[in-house]
């Protein structure tokens, strides 16, 4: 039976992508999906080729044709996002970075001077790795719909898995936080692996994503990255895990060679740095639970 695991953290920068890439080296036929679409780093360390790129057109933005505008100001009055201002001549100016694409201005405009146009929000890619497939995306900086694009990436990985006759692991590198892109990245998952940082902020944020995953009824596993930066906090987290319904699967030492591995375009396991042994152990423990 195929399995889907999403790697999350709550707090940013705990090592999700580093751990996901390392596990990819341990499971050569796993299909990888980078759902952290507004900062997609997995492709930087997973060599890939034959990319198939699809534009991501989602949502809309309001644009004004000044020649049709009677400067009645109705658009500005009704916009709830302060995206429309009127200049000295009462000519509306639409700020595309604030426009929510709701279409209210279009609805209230008596002359249809405002129309909605589809937004080019970026693109998504499915590519071959040396042993399997990688799905990822590039959300246009500043764009909305990161949740939808994360869903598209996840679905691309799921589709690739369905095309195979054998059981396949889908491994998802998730985004930080708890919002819509995170929710999109855990839909359909059998388990989440939380990569936690041994700090007060790291534990505070990990607990929020644990709470989110609990709402979805997904099994929750947790490892502690760079545990030796604060052994006290690492122990504190381990002790509290049973209370929050998460299972401990191991810890990774602080390893300055990780940056060297990534600079060489390699995963921690490929490079063979000290952290590789810890991640291998974590993967074996996790897979024992999940399979």
């Amino acid at each position: 039976m195929s399995r889907q695991i999403t790697v999350l953290s709550g707090k940013g920068g705990t090592g999700k992508t580093s751990v996901t890439a390392a596990i990819a080296s341990l499971v050569p036929n796993a299909i990888l999906a980078d759902c952290d679409v507004d900062g997609s780093d997995l492709p930087l360390v997973l060599a890939h080729h034959n990319p198939v790129t699809t534009p991501f057109i989602a949502g809309q933005a309001a644009t004004l044709d000044p020649s049709q505008c009677t400067r009645c100001g109705a658009c500005q009055t009704h916009c709830r996002y302060q995206a429309i201002t009127l200049d000295e001549a009462r000519q509306p100016r639409i700020d595309p970075t604030l426009c929510e694409g709701c279409g209210v201005c279009h609805l209230v405009c008596p002359t249809h001077a405002i129309v909605l146009e589809p937004c080019d929000c970026g693109e998504w890619v499915i590519a071959d790795t040396n042993t399997s497939k990688l799905a990822y995306a590039r959300l246009r900086p500043g764009a909305e719909n990161s949740g939808r694009l994360a869903s598209v990436v996840r679905q691309a990985a799921t589709t690739a898995a369905e095309e195979r006759s054998e059981d396949t692991l889908i491994l998802i590198d998730g985004p930080p936080g708890i919002g819509c892109p995170v929710i999109a990245s855990i839909t359909g998952s059998d388990a989440i692996l939380i990569v936690a940082e041994p700090s007060q902020s790291g534990w505070h944020d990990a607990k929020r994503v644990i709470q989110l995953a609990s709402h979805f009824g997904i099994d929750i596993y947790l490892c502690i990255n760079r545990w030796d930066l604060s052994p006290e906090m690492a122990l504190h987290i381990r002790n509290e895990l049973p209370d929050v319904g998460a299972t401990y699967v191991g810890r990774i030492c602080y390893d300055p060679m990780v940056t060297q591995a990534h600079t060489a375009g390699q995963t921690i396991v490929e490079y063979g740095c000290p952290a590789a042994k810890d991640i291998t152990q974590i993967w074996e423990t996790l897979w024992n639970h999940v399979k």
Binding site: K11, D38, D41, C102, V108, P141, G142, A143, L229, H262
Partner: protein
């Protein structure tokens, strides 16, 4: 003046720097925690927070006695937040953006708006720092409305120096947190992922036309590809904060940066002085 601190990549040190800057300000300062999915500023500031104010968005109810299922609301909704099933129109509050389009097009008066809670805002102070913390409820998908509410609470005190701790990333939450700031500090880490994500954050800064500069955190003594990239693109490097296990351990326990590393006091003050003097920002 409003100074926002963002990054692109998570975990580069935004909250560490935001709270450090607030701690050295010599005038009353407002610290806005706009990382509403994972707010951490108060772990360092340790303010006593007043009871939370709920943040709501208007979502809709349909009065079935008035609704003739004409579906005009469904057609007007750009977010698929209304569904038709079983001969009724059903609102899906988690998808609703609260724009009011459905109510505008309803000819039967069947649509009413009700506040739907998605998060909260709390205020507290510690010394000269007033903290406003936005916090998204776990399970609510959309953070920008909570971020906007937090920014609005800050704008109620227009004369204070405002420091905004923004969320990671380069999409709508980061834009909502940094929009209209007088200056944007991008905190970067000198790693391959850090450089990749910094370039995305710079694109957003330029599209928002914000004056910006970079603080390199956990920097080694020697120049890195990230240093070179900033110089090549004429992006000011406001400061380089050193890599230090001791500082990391202290931060892990909720210690403010300058408590763990008082020798960095002049560096942090200089960042603030430079920005307040208005003489160092990349041309957007």
């Amino acid at each position: 003046m409003i100074i926002a601190i963002a990054s692109g990549k998570g975990g580069t040190g935004k909250t560490t720097l935001s709270t450090a800057l607030a701690s050295v300000a010599t005038t009353p300062v407002l610290l806005l925690d706009c990382d509403v999915e994972a707010p951490n500023c108060n772990i360092y500031i340790k303010a006593n927070l007043a009871p939370a104010q709920p943040v709501t968005v208007p979502t809709v109810t349909i009065e079935p006695l008035h609704c003739n299922v004409c579906r005009a609301c469904l057609d007007a909704c750009q977010f698929n937040a209304l569904a038709a099933a079983g001969g009724k129109i059903i609102p899906l509050p988690e998808l609703c953006h609260g724009c009011g389009a459905c109510q505008l097009v309803c000819q039967s008066g069947a649509i009413a708006e009700v506040p739907h809670r998605i998060g909260q805002c709390q205020t507290g102070s510690s010394g000269h720092i007033t903290l406003i913390e936005g916090r998204l409820d776990v399970g609510s998908p959309l953070s920008p409305p909570v971020i906007r509410a937090t920014r609005a609470a800050g704008n109620a005190m227009p004369d204070a120096l405002q420091i905004i701790d923004a969320p990671p990333g380069t999409s709508c939450p980061m834009v909502a947190a940094t929009h209209g700031a007088d200056y944007l500090i991008l905190v970067a880490e000198p790693t391959p992922f850090g450089l990749h994500d910094l370039k995305l954050a710079i694109e957003v800064a330029r599209s928002l036309k914000l004056a910006f500069g970079v603080v390199i955190n956990r920097a080694p003594d020697t120049a890195t590809p990230l240093d070179e990239a900033c110089k090549a693109d004429s992006i000011p490097i406001l400061a380089r904060l050193p890599e230090s296990r001791r500082i990391a351990a202290a931060g892990a326990h909720g210690e403010l940066l300058l408590k763990a590393a008082p020798h960095l006091g002049d560096t942090i003050k200089q960042i603030l002085t430079t920005i307040l003097a208005g003489d160092k920002g990349a041309v957007a």
